[in-house]
Amino acid sequence: MTEGGTPSSTEYILHHLTPLHVGHGFWTVHLDTLLVSMALGVFFCWLFWKAARHATSGVPGGLQNFVEILIDFVDTQVKDSFHGRNPLIGPLALTIFVWVWLWNFMDLIPVDLIPSIMGALGVGHFKVVPSTDLNSTFALSLSVIFLVYFYSIKVKGAGGFTKEIFTQPFGIWFCPFNVLLRIVEDVAKPISLGLRLFGNMYAGELIFILIALLPWWIQFTLSWPWAAFHLIIITLQAFIFMVLTIVYLSMAHEDH
């Protein structure tokens, strides 16, 4: 909370939506987003590495079972929409799914818990959900689009890629229209990918914050249903991000 007295609702909401940042202009860094993302990434790597190190083809233990279920789930999704062979796409999809899910899961931590702890430690602002930061979601979507371009050119060659831009989908006689369509499509892809995740998580977080403004004795009537519903949303959003990544990459591999 801000120093001195009870903050107004506006102050409370703005306080929750302000990231912990250092630097100026473009070179501003949101420390909370970076640190929480790294911590979750390290947790993901540690957990899965623990399972992978003792991986046995015999009877798997509990952790290996859990990890194998996730990997099998991701692998099924990959095999359903991606028909080429690419050793990157499975691990990429798994990383996106688990990492984004962990980001989103931070949304279910009580909204005041971590900011209060950080406040007690002398840190003024702390946004704990990385996916409510546009920089996180666009870091993922731009990386994915970069990979789409990389594989498009790698699979089809520079010539084939250029030809595709000018002749797809309506043939060479409509080439200006084709190029225009392509530009719209390629701009829309990363923006829709990044904004969808950001928008869902930002809205969810905002509703938690609004619920937190209610009197304490009524909060549970809204917070519990919203948290239960949000549990579905965070999984769904992570899943959508992963599936779209796979679909975009498989489109990049398709030769017309």
Binding site: L17, F26, S57, P91, W99, A139
Partner: protein
């Protein structure tokens, strides 16, 4: 809420995570899962093979048993036949042997009888001569009447 260097930082973290997953997490777990799949498939296949082999073996065992029974029956029949033969032969042998012994005994008896008869004849002759002598009151010349006596004896 605007774009800044956080995006670059998040990208770097993302690349590191993907690289780690690609190198240390995905391949060993995938390998383990594929190996297990293969092992389960092999296990099922060998179980099926085992069942089929077992069926084959029991069929073979039944066949062997049937053959053995047939052979046993044959052997028993042969043995009975042989036993009958042996009994029959023993009977014949015994009968022959009995016959032979009987004949030997008969021959011996005949011999004995002839000897006894001969002796008796000699004694009768002697007695006849002595009795004749006594009756006649004098000595009968045995030598002189030998022919007569012998004829008499032969008539006995």
């Amino acid at each position: 809420m605007n774009f800044n260097a956080t995006l670059i930082g998040q990208m770097i973290t993302f690349i590191l995570l993907v690289a780690f997953t690609m190198k240390y997490i995905w391949p060993p777990l995938m390998q383990a899962m594929q190996d297990r799949q293969k092992r389960i498939a092999e296990g099922l296949a060998s179980a099926e093979r085992g069942v089929r082999e077992q069926e084959l073996a029991s069929a073979k065992a039944a066949e062997t048993l049937r053959e053995a029974k047939k052979q046993v029956a044959e052997i028993i029949t042969q043995a009975q036949k042989r036993a009958n033969e042996i009994v029959e032969q023993s009977k014949n042998d015994a009968r022959d042997e009995g016959q032979r012994q009987l004949e030997t005994a008969k021959a011996e008896i005949d011999q004995e009888m002839n000897r006894a008869r001969e002796q008796l004849r000699k004694q009768v002759a002697a007695i006849a001569v002595e009795a004749a002598g006594k009756i006649l009151g004098r000595e009968v010349d045995a030598k002189a009447n030998a022919r007569l006596v012998n004829d008499l004896v032969a008539q006995l």
